[in-house]
């Protein structure tokens, strides 16, 4: 296994926040919405590479393929129209898992090892460990994980972890005809974004910005927005956070729970020290035989 694929963090783990000694560069997908033409090549590439099934859709009055992400559709261009007074913005933003540095899904997941974050930053579902409870959905501020009816597991973009592991870019990046998608280290992608931002601002998009929200520790997906002051126009939360409930459960209740568990154990030990071992009561006459008989006759 490549070092980048070592597991840095794992759901419901007792090992703590970060279990790796080595710090490897985090990979990143760059999305420049200002040069995205909504052609949906990435949608098809994602579906074909990941062997996802065709989803039945319906024309409801939009160019968007379907209303939201789907267990068989991990990559969706979201279209929206905005009247800017003297001009119009028809925004297209590629929606998929943002691979947060501080992943709410991982935090919320109760199944040990079902959601992992690799050393390279990719957040992935391990179907072998996933119990399909859907808790990750409640932890995700971007509404990404979906329950897959057939496998009864959670399903989402893996940033083509199998491609990345062997040094390839994700399928969506490979298929993009305009080059609005790039793949590399997060540092390099942020540099790319800075260059583009300077150009956009010089060309009148004074609010152009990179979407890399701090509330989730930053995202492994770096998105350039011309209207950076309005991420909600692109279907992005303005200031995403892991939901309070999940955060409360994981950062306060979980330690409290641990304290309670360890407290109980310590208490029991103290009790033992104080009171010594519990003496057995006298067995009732013939009791052992009776219980033995009961066990044996159980169906």
């Amino acid at each position: 296994m490549a070092a980048s694929m070592q597991i840095r963090r794992s759901s419901a783990s007792l090992r703590g926040e970060d279990s790796l000694i080595r710090k490897l560069p985090v990979v990143s997908k760059y999305i420049d919405t200002t040069t995205c033409i909504g052609c949906k090549a990435c949608e098809v590439a994602c579906q074909e590479w990941n062997d996802l099934k065709v989803v039945k859709t319906e024309q409801t009055g939009t160019y968007q393929t379907m209303p939201t992400l789907h267990a068989e559709y991990w990559n969706l261009i979201k279209f929206s129209e905005h009247d800017l007074g003297d001009s119009l913005a028809w925004l297209m933003r590629k929606d998929q898992c943002m691979h947060c540095a501080d992943p709410g899904c991982l935090k919320a997941c109760p199944a040990p090892g079902a959601i992992v974050q690799y050393a390279n930053g990719i957040v992935d579902v391990n179907p072998d460990k996933c119990i399909g409870c859907g808790m990750c959905q409640t932890g995700c501020p971007f509404d990404v994980p979906r329950f897959h009816e057939k496998t009864a597991k959670m399903s989402k973009c893996s940033l083509c972890v199998d491609r990345v592991e062997v040094g390839l870019e994700p399928a969506c990046v490979k298929s993009c005809p305009t080059g609005c998608l790039h793949f590399g280290t997060k540092e390099a992608m942020l540099e790319l974004a800075d260059t583009r931002l300077l150009q956009l601002r010089a060309n009148g998009f004074t609010n152009a910005a990179v979407y890399d929200p701090k509330g989730v520790g930053g995202t492994t997906v770096v998105t350039v927005l011309a209207h950076g002051d309005h991420p909600e126009w692109y279907g992005l939360p303005k200031d995403p956070h892991i939901p309070l409930g999940v955060r409360f459960a994981k950062s306060i209740l979980k330690p409290l729970g641990l304290i309670a568990i360890f407290g109980a154990v310590a208490g029991m030990f103290g009790h033992y020290l104080r009171s010594g071992p519990k003496e057995p009561h006298e067995p009732p006459p013939g009791g052992a035989d009776q219980s033995g008989t009961t066990k044996e006759t159980r169906p």
């Binding site: 033409i37 065709v54 024309q59 028809w90 080059g179 609005c180």
Partner: protein, 818 residues
């Protein structure tokens, strides 16, 4: 394209108009994005709809469908009024200084020479004036002569003020002026701009004139022949350029040679009419490359008839089919529908009884679907070569609303031959950039399906056998065809490409040293300079010459080598003509052969020869010897084109179904030379009954009428829809996602309403004019879950008089809630 896809990255300004490249050419569009990112180029989109191209544009201006000439003429007027045009360029590289006959006039919407009865122009009054003393072209290099092209153009354009542009196009003046300023910023040596256009310009009754306006504008701005410039047609199919090069339409032979007509009995008579001649001109003479026409034609006849073509029998010229009227497919269908041939001389013979169609779906693509279906039902037999069961093959079971006869009453015998798809055969694709690129077969055709060439070859061999056995009216025509393929029943396409390139039939002597041969018998030719008119060379298409030489099949080349750094990639595939990447590239340099912009040279004169791209001029001819436009007899680019059928300068006319009376000349509202038919099915609507302007288009997610058979793509765009501006939808009580119905004079269809801000209300000639549109990808064949109305049920059979291309892009409808 005059230039090429990659070359778009060299532009300072990219005007996408009559095209929606982000949606319909997404891969090529990457170069527009590259220009934006690397050069900070400005992308300008002028379109009736705010498209996905507009979504990434720097400036978008709305326009009423079909009014592009008024817009472009307005830009040119702006260029002339502000001095933002390339004066040095137009003096040497265009016919701006040329004086036109005093018989030429333009009054009340009509050019001189109009014959109202025929609806045609006599073009003789649009001619150049010859200097009476020298018989050379009369020119005024100061551009002051009142009848010089520059002055005539200026006068012609003077009416197209920003106010008039707004009145005709509905484009607010401030939007128009923003576009005009950016586009005319390239009217100098330092900057260059390109145009990307497609069927949004060609599919009008004034289609060719729109493109003429664009070409005139680019010449005026000095943008033709230069890297980053040009007039670039984005072709709508992966190999439509190759199809056109190889005689895709009835009036041309391979290499754009003209189809002989029935009164040209001998080759000499034909050549006399077909090959243009030039007047002498002192300072700047013309190569008139078409003077080589006889070499191209004789070599083509040698390729067609091989040994049977001899000097004595005029190289087999008499066996070539001759036309006696219009055989473009619109006319064929009119003949078919009417059961006679009124469009040809005589006109009393019966219409066609059989029809063979390959790689084409006439029921889908033809205007006025009901007429198409009824026409096919009059045939005795129909052969469809396809890999899907397309609408044409199942025309006899078209839904009732299309107005065809009941299936039981149709006698047409239909044969569907299963053909291989594009990935199931090898061969070349010629892209919009004129690059012939070899493609390799990916998989074998399934089942019993065969490649097109095998099906055609086997039909040919069977027909030839019948002629051999039974004789017939003119058996030589078929029996003499050269068919020297290793496997005659399924010719190898590399062999065919070799034949197209051409070879020496006998040894060809070096004219400079007759003791040497430039080619020996049987050797592949290297360039069209080696072609001869004495039967010693054979060549299937002179334009493709160079693609398959002794060096092998150059269409297979895939080298990323880019010596100029301008993305010309001379060792990638083969770019016709002569592997030249930018056409008219002599115009990239000034009178002394220096590049207008040294950072983007096309070719430059190094004192002994032209270097850079493959020169579009005699390589060792010093600057000043020949004009840059070697295919024009006068040697220069045409701001005034005496050759078209509907006027030497572009004039705004309304569509055949006009939304308003032409504000410039209400008595001549539409193109007076446009063609239309007269059958009972050819009905045209009036604005009083059909008040809404409508246009049709394609989507990124689908390919023509083909991919509604493909479920991955159906998922992306599941069904037919109608795009309706918000305010109009409100007026009609139609909400997004509800059903709407549109009706034209010819048909009526229903679909899901897509209510949008991207189409908007325009004020035209003082009135509100609405426009709507819908994509064309559906039909009645295939998976019942993915059928939909045929868009062309609504479109009219009105045509451009130069190309007979139907007016799919502007027609009138009414809109209702369904």
């Amino acid at each position: 394209m005059t230039n090429g896809w990659v070359d778009i990255k060299n532009a300072d300004v990219v005007l996408a108009m009559g095209a929606n490249p982000a949606e319909n050419h997404p891969c090529g569009f990457k170069w527009a994005i590259e220009a934006k990112k690397v050069r900070n180029a400005k992308l300008v989109v002028v379109d009736p709809r705010f498209t996905r191209t507009a979504a990434v544009a720097d400036v978008y201006a709305p326009i009423r469908p079909g009014t592009d000439i008024a817009f472009l003429n307005g830009i040119m007027r702006h260029a002339l009024a502000t001095g933002r045009f390339h004066e040095d360029y137009i003096k040497i590289h265009t016919n701006a200084p040329y004086v036109i006959s005093e018989k030429f006039s333009f009054e009340d919407g009509l050019f001189s020479g109009f014959d109202a009865a025929k609806g045609e122009y006599d073009k003789s009054t649009w001619a150049y004036e010859a200097d009476p003393k020298t018989n050379a072209y009369l020119v005024d290099m100061e551009l002051n002569h009142p009848r010089c092209v520059f002055q005539l153009l200026k006068k012609h354009l003077d009416r197209y003020t920003p106010e008039m542009v707004e009145r005709i196009c509905g484009t607010p003046q401030k939007d128009f002026l923003k576009v005009a300023d950016i586009v005319t910023s390239t009217g100098n040596a330092a900057r260059v701009g390109t145009i990307m256009y497609a069927l949004g310009w060609t599919q009008h009754s004034i289609g060719v004139q729109i493109i003429r306006a664009a070409a005139t504008m680019q010449l005026l701005l000095g943008n033709v022949g230069r890297p980053g410039g040009g007039v670039n047609a984005l072709r709508g199919h992966s190999n439509i350029q190759g199809a056109t090069d190889m005689a895709g339409t009835f009036e041309i032979l391979p290499g754009y040679l003209k189809t002989p007509v029935s009164n040209q009995a001998t080759l000499a008579e034909y050549l006399d009419k077909a090959a243009p001649t030039t007047l002498n001109k002192q300072a700047w003479s013309s190569m008139n490359y078409w003077s080589n026409y006889p070499k191209f034609m004789v070599s083509l006849l040698k390729a067609a008839y091989g040994k049977a073509a001899t000097k004595e029998n005029d190289w087999g010229y008499s066996w070539l089919p001759k036309t006696d009227g219009n055989y473009s497919w619109m006319y064929l269908f009119d003949d078919m529908y009417r059961g006679s041939n009124p469009n040809r001389a005589g006109g009393q013979e019966p219409g066609p009884e059989g029809f063979i169609t390959f790689g084409m779906n006439p029921v889908g693509i033809g205007p006025n679907t009901s007429k198409m279906i009824n026409a096919l039902s009059k045939l005795k037999w129909l052969v469809v070569g396809e890999n899907y069961e397309i609408e044409t093959a199942t025309f006899w079971k078209a839904p009732k609303e299309y107005g065809g006869p009941e299936a039981s009453k149709i006698q047409t015998e239909v044969f569907q031959l299963p053909c291989s798809g594009f990935a199931e055969k090898d061969g070349t694709f010629t892209n919009s950039a004129r690059w012939l690129q070899w493609k390799w077969k990916a998989i074998d055709p399934p089942g019993n399906s065969k490649t097109d060439q095998e099906i055609l070859a086997r039909i040919f061999l069977a027909v030839r056998e019948l002629y051999r056995k039974e004789g017939g009216a003119l058996p030589e025509q078929v029996l003499n065809v050269a068919w020297d393929y290793t496997n005659p029943a399924a010719p190898d396409l590399e062999e065919v490409l070799k034949e197209i390139n051409g070879k020496a039939v006998t040894d060809i002597k070096d004219p400079k040293d007759p003791s040497k041969n430039i080619r020996t018998a049987g050797q592949q030719l290297e360039n069209f300079g080696q072609l001869q008119d004495d039967g010693s060379t054979s060549c299937g298409n002179w334009l493709h010459l160079g693609v398959y030489t002794d060096a092998g099949n150059l269409a297979k080349r895939r080298s990323n080598e880019d010596p100029t750094g301008l993305g010309m990639f001379p060792k990638w595939g083969f770019s016709w003509p002569a592997n030249r990447r930018v056409m008219y590239n002599r115009a990239s340099a000034d009178i002394n052969g220096k590049a207008w912009d040294p950072t983007r040279p096309g070719i430059v004169w190094n004192g002994a020869k032209w270097v850079g791209d493959v020169p579009d001029i005699k390589p060792d001819s010093p600057p000043g010897q020949f004009g840059a436009f070697i295919m024009n007899a006068e040697g220069v680019g045409r701001l005034f084109a005496p050759s078209l059928n509907d006027g030497p300068m572009s004039e705004h006319y309304e569509a055949i179904e006009a939304a308003i009376d032409n504000p410039l000349h209400p008595k001549v509202t539409s193109n007076p030379a446009a063609k239309r038919f007269k059958s009972d099915k050819d009905v045209y609507g009036k604005k009083e009954d059909f008040p809404v302007v409508c246009t049709t288009y394609r989507l990124t997610e689908h390919y023509h009428y083909w991919t509604h058979h493909t479920n991955v793509l159906n998922q992306l765009q599941p069904g037919f829809f109608i795009e309706i501006p918000e305010q109009l939808a409100k007026e009609k009580g139609i909400a997004n996602g509800q059903r709407a119905r549109i009706t034209s004079a010819r048909g009526s269809i229903e679909g899901t309403a897509m209510v949008t801000k991207r189409l908007r209300q325009l004020t035209v000639d003082g009135k509100t004019v609405w426009h709507i549109g819908f994509p064309l990808h559906w039909g009645y064949s295939g998976d019942p879950q993915h059928v939909g109305p045929l868009a062309n049920f609504l479109t009219p059979s009105a045509m451009d008089p130069n190309t007979w291309t139907p007016e799919y892009k502007t027609f009138l409808v009414k809109l209702e809630k369904a």
